[in-house]
């Protein structure tokens, strides 16, 4: 069985069918890419997976759990973490605090212990900190550790958001346009990290990406979506040369 199975997923906003009968499955340990022109419904699929939107119909199954029976706040606990296309960081908190919020699902201390800040809480906090430091090392964020997000450049923020998702220690990582707004060097770096995340951290990755060289570099399978409908699915080279994909991106040949 695949780690994530999506069947006949549909949602519409007003009269627009943003996602129309989309089905696909993601194997554990793979990197899966969603591509398609702007407005194709890629981010909407992520938001459906995060349970921010209620689908019209369809099934979402993650590692044997029916996601539709859960609320948005329960998704992370199952082991799904995500980043956002337009960055949703905690602007007025430090990088360290942002990453520690990523540990929230692993917090087991009762509220009154936290208010009194008992020895057990201290112990747990030190454990979370050690975990966060691993991620900081991994993504080379040590320099920014105590800086407040609102003072950081875009590329670093992007990295912090990825780091925050990694702190959840998810099984499945959803990356919404990891390379948007990054310069070519940073994009290349991002590619290496995605490889490392899959290989060293054993996470399954789904990414939405417009940079085809990055898609080619990291992904095992690619799903092309146009106007909410699946056009084709397969290896990178197969999808890229598919006539419908070409026409969606470049227009029809007269």
């Amino acid at each position: 069985m695949s780690l994530l199975e999506i069947e006949n997923l549909s949602i519409s906003f007003g009269g627009v069918k943003a996602v129309d009968e989309v089905s696909f499955a993601v194997e554990e340990g793979s990197v899966y890419a969603l591509i398609g022109p702007n407005g194709a419904g890629k981010s909407t699929i992520f938001n459906l997976l995060s349970r921010f939107y209620e689908p019209l119909s369809g099934n979402l199954n993650f590692a044997g759990n029916d996601l539709l029976g859960l609320e948005a706040k329960d998704i992370a606990r199952l082991g799904i973490a995500r980043t956002f296309q337009n960055l949703e960081l905690f602007e007025h908190a430090s990088v360290l605090q942002n990453l520690l919020v990523g540990r929230h699902v692993h917090n087991t201390q009762s509220w009154w212990r936290q208010v009194l800040f008992t020895g057990r809480v201290v112990e747990a906090e030190l454990e979370h900190r050690a975990k966060v430091e691993e991620v900081i090392d991994f993504l080379e964020l040590a320099h920014y550790r105590n800086q407040v997000i609102s003072g950081l450049p875009y590329g670093v923020r992007k990295k912090v958001e990825l780091a925050r998702a990694l702190c959840v220690e998810p099984k499945l990582l959803l990356l919404d346009e990891p390379s948007s707004g990054l310069n070519p060097e940073e994009t290349e770096e991002m590619g290496y990290w995605i490889e490392d995340i899959r290989r060293d951290l054993n996470m399954t990755v789904i990414l939405i990406e417009h940079d085809m060289s990055l898609v080619k570099e990291v992904s095992d399978r690619v799903l092309a979506i146009v106007n909410g409908k699946v056009v084709t699915e397969g290896s990178h080279s197969f999808v890229q040369s598919h006539p419908d994909v070409v026409s969606a991106y470049l227009g029809d040949v007269q």
């Binding site: 992370a76 949703e88 960081l89 201390q109 936290q114 208010v115 800040f117 809480v121 609102s150």
Partner: protein, 368 residues
């Protein structure tokens, strides 16, 4: 000793060798020394002041406590409240009523906090579904309801004629002296501040900040914003209720009019002036408002009656200050202090641009 004081003014480079250092409330020896000294001076203050000024100082402490409550909700969790005077009222009347029944402060104060907390819970349940201006209006409505209630519940509150407040009583000992009340308030305030600081350094506090800055991604990280907001409302109401209980002792006589909208706005003004989202800001704001109020009332006596007797001079001055703070220093007094401090620390190499605001990037508003 002198060497030590001198050194704590210098630029300090902290070499951290242990994660525990980030968990400690006092980050280094300088912190321990200066905050310790501050608390000592505060406890010794009654020795240096006469009766009237001890009373004024007590009022500042009570403001600080109420501001601390509001800061938990508005500054750290991002939930605006225009109705915090309601919690002050609940705390004040509960405390006064229990004392009037002959209970000691050991019962009356916890009951004041508890009842106020229940009030907070009542507001929180609908309030977690609202945000921004709607929440502000809902809390405002709550405050008006409570004020009205206090006016009509004659058997308990004495209605619009008001009620006398007994002096606090601890272990059969009645606290008559103003310096005794001052020390009582100060001790509770120190404890409340420490508890709030604890919340802020634990997962709960981080979740509060997460809900404030981006509710959507806090959800995606497994935070339950509902729960966090309810928690913030109850903690905030409890602290503010305690402040209300002490306000009753400061006022000596309670009427519903004390707890009008102006008091709520004044509280909000206080934390914005001090610096939203910081515990320091609470105290800066409280001191500023307290000093201003005292200053205005003293200057009214000194100034010719054509100026000093003008009605509405107080709200006017507060309004002018609020507008200038929002226009020139949105981070409040504490934000300005941070800038001055780093100017001194980095003295020859400080750059004006150090605190220039970076551009804010677009957020996915439509997901809300």
């Amino acid at each position: 000793m002198l060497k030590f004081i001198e050194r704590s003014f210098d630029m300090r480079i902290l070499f951290k060798t242990n994660y525990n250092q980030d968990l400690n409330l006092a980050k280094h020896g300088g912190h321990r020394f200066w905050y310790g000294l501050l608390v000592l001076i505060l406890f010794a203050t009654p020795l240096m002041l006469d009766g009237y000024y001890i009373g004024e100082a007590t009022r500042v402490l009570i403001y600080a406590m109420a501001g601390l409550g509001l800061m938990v909700l508005t500054g750290f969790t991002g939930q605006a409240s225009l109705g915090h005077a309601a919690f002050l009222a609940i705390g004040a009347y509960t405390n006064a009523w229990f004392l009037a029944q002959g209970f000691s402060s050991l019962v009356a104060l916890p009951m004041a906090a508890l009842l106020s907390m229940i009030g907070g819970l009542l507001v929180a349940i609908p309030a977690t579904r609202m945000s921004g201006i709607y929440l502000a209006i809902a809390t405002l409505a709550f405050a008006i309801i409570v004020e009205d209630f206090a006016g009509h519940l004659t058997s308990i509150t004495g209605g619009n004629r008001g009620m006398m407040v007994d002096v606090p009583m601890l272990f059969g000992y009645k606290i008559w002296q103003s310096w005794e009340l001052y020390l009582f308030v100060l001790s509770i305030l120190v404890i409340a501040t420490l508890l709030v600081l604890n919340i802020l350094r634990s997962p709960l506090g981080r979740a509060m900040i997460a809900v404030r800055d981006s509710e959507i991604s806090s959800k995606a990280l497994g935070v339950n914003p509902m729960k966090i907001k309810v928690f913030a409302f109850t903690v905030s109401a409890a602290i503010t209720g305690l402040a209300g209980a002490f306000l009753a002792h400061y006022m000596l006589y309670l009427t519903p009019q004390i707890f009008g909208i102006l008091l709520s706005i004044q509280l909000l003004l206080m934390i914005v002036l001090g610096g939203l989202g910081t515990v320091h800001g609470v105290f800066f704001g409280a001191v500023l408002i307290g000093v201003l109020e005292t200053g205005i009332s003293i200057s009214k006596d000194v100034l010719p009656s054509s100026i000093g007797g003008l009605p509405g001079i107080e709200p006017f001055i507060f309004g002018v200050i609020l507008i200038s703070v929002i226009a020139f220093e949105p981070t409040g007094i504490y934000g300005r202090w941070i800038k001055i401090r780093s100017y001194m620390e980095f003295f020859p190499i400080y750059r004006r641009k150090s605190f220039k605001r970076q551009r804010a990037y677009l957020k996915t508003e439509r997901l809300r």
